[in-house]
């Protein structure tokens, strides 16, 4: 019994480190897909965000997300500030899968993902200070409240057919996605992106770094989904490893197929986005899907992401890294797919999934809009035009990411 607990807890701690490494993945991907004059700024945001996640989750997030059984079926609950070790916190009496601290730290690694998704969509023009304030509020309050609705026993969990989100297509990825959509829309596009003569491509400055980023994310996802089993159960974890990997692989091809059909090129950035879309897509039901189902979900997710990128450009919402397409569109698709494919498929489940998407979407839209709007009206959220043209690195950070290269003016 003790051996089982030790093994379970060990796997959960490994999964924790895998999810942690995804922050490096996000940092590399976003840096690679944006311009070198903004690289320090992107990396700064992606460095401070995990710090925000960990600190706020310890202070309020964990107890907002898991307020306790007395709040079952409700919208909001809070178990108090800070962490408090319960009796037997380091034994299987707390949970057969993990200690209290493992529980906390594994969950804490997910918390900052919501803000990190937003950072890609608002890149190259958002003001640093307001973005940090947005992230603190979004990660400390909005994310855990939404998480409580399902994983903390709230109303989504007590629907007659419970809403299902295995590792967070809605709870993590779409929460970030909605914030990204509001942020990108409210900021407006980067200077020069949409002109009277059409759309300008603003290529990223480092494709190798973007590629490394996606592989790091894929690597970390084995912990993201594998750890969401909440134990080292050999059958479940190995199954989740397979569904996760298959969806990613199929996502690459879904994106390749659609982007080749539309643009006649083998666009690596689309394939990279496709892999991520596949991963986001399987995240809601990784433990429910067959191999075939995972491949289908991933392939469709990959195709959807390409169409979505084109769509958002068409409506002039500038998303430098495709965060909205990967995480919001991908997250919604993955969530609904649980009602269409796999062990839980059925009209009732599909309906519950829809309820989850709509309630979470409404909540996140309203609150991310409120936060961004308040910031916009008080301190402003966008750098001025001269600063944006010169680059955020020299203006917000007084330094260059590549000091010995001739930087763009």
């Amino acid at each position: 019994m003790q051996d089982l607990f030790t093994v379970n807890n060990l796997w959960m701690m490994i999964a924790t480190t895998l999810v942690f490494l995804m922050h490096l993945g996000f940092a590399s991907l976003e840096a690679g897909l944006t311009r070198s004059k903004n690289t320090v700024n992107i990396l700064f945001k992606n460095t401070i965000i995990p710090a925000i996640g960990l600190l706020t989750y310890a202070f309020v997030g964990f107890n907002l997300m898991y307020p306790g059984a007395e709040y079952a079926g409700s919208f909001f609950g809070f178990a108090g500030f800070g962490l408090s070790l319960p009796e037997g916190w380091d034994t299987s009496n707390y949970n057969v899968g993990y200690t209290y601290f493992t529980d906390f730290i594994f969950q804490a690694m997910f918390a900052a993902t919501a803000a990190t998704i937003v950072s890609g969509a608002v890149a190259e023009r958002v003001k640093l200070g307001p973005f940090i304030i947005f992230s603190i509020v979004y990660v400390a309050v909005i994310y855990p409240v939404v998480g409580m609705w399902k994983w903390g026993g709230g109303f989504l969990n007590t629907l007659s057919t419970p809403f299902y989100d295995f590792a967070g297509s809605t709870i993590v990825h779409s929460v970030g996605g909605w914030g990204a959509l509001v942020g990108a829309a409210m900021l407006g596009p980067r200077i020069g992106k949409y002109t009277s003569r059409g759309m300008t491509a603003i290529p990223g400055h480092n494709i190798p770094m973007a590629t490394m980023g996606v592989f790091l994310l894929w690597f970390g996802w084995f912990g993201f989904n594998g750890g969401s089993v909440l134990s080292a159960d050999p059958g479940l974890v190995s199954k989740v490893f397979v569904t996760t990997a298959m969806a990613a692989a199929a996502g690459a091809f879904g994106a390749l197929a659609v982007s080749y059909k539309m643009f006649k090129t083998y666009d690596i950035t689309m394939v990279l986005n496709g892999i991520l879309a596949g991963l986001v897509g399987i995240t809601a039901g990784a433990d429910q899907m067959s191999v075939g189902g995972s491949v289908l979900i991933g392939f469709i997710g990959g195709g959807l992401v390409v169409l979505s990128v084109v769509f958002f450009d068409k409506i002039k919402v500038d998303d430098p890294v495709g965060a909205i397409s990967v995480h919001l569109v991908g997250g919604i698709w993955g969530t609904l797919a649980v009602g269409i494919f796999g062990d839980l498929a059925g009209i009732g489940q599909f309906f519950s999934q829809l309820i989850g998407v709509v309630t979470v979407g409404t909540f996140c839209l309203i609150f991310s809009w409120l936060i961004f709007f308040t910031l916009k009206k008080t301190v402003g959220i966008r750098v001025d035009a001269a600063e944006e043209t010169e680059g955020l690195d020299i203006n917000e950070h007084k330094m260059h990411a590549y000091p010995n290269f001739a930087a763009k003016d």
């Binding site: 043209t389 010169e390 020299i394 203006n395 007084k398 330094m399 260059h400 000091p403 001739a406 930087a407 763009k408 003016d409």
Partner: protein, 112 residues
């Protein structure tokens, strides 16, 4: 034929290029350069140490064109490249002794 060399702000490159292309100039070379001038680089701070980079980044244009177009090209650069701030750049004019097109050995103004 004359060669027009201009050190310009990189942020003005697109407008200058559009203007020059509108004159029918199809051949130009440009590259990113570092240099020094009256404009100082913005002071930076690295790990607690303030420093002023010695150089500023700019773009250098080289346009070889027929004598008749020289004044128009210069006007393009002067109009589109100007912000009024210190650091807008400079233009230099040189005589070109001869020009060749490598593909078919055209010479002179035909090679432009």
């Amino acid at each position: 034929m004359k060669k027009i060399e201009a050190i310009i702000r990189t942020s003005r490159f697109d407008q200058i290029h559009k203007c020059v292309a509108g004159l029918g100039v199809k051949f130009l070379t440009f590259y990113e350069v570092k240099g020094m001038g009256l404009e100082h680089a913005k002071p930076e701070m690295y790990r607690g140490v303030p420093y002023e980079p010695a150089y500023i980044p700019r773009t250098k244009l080289e346009i070889v064109t027929v004598d008749e177009l020289v004044e128009s090209v210069i006007n393009c650069i002067l109009t589109e490249g100007k912000t009024g701030e210190v650091g807008d750049g400079k233009i230099f004019i040189y005589d070109v002794l001869e020009a060749y097109r490598i593909r078919n050995s055209d010479t002179g103004e035909h090679a432009l």
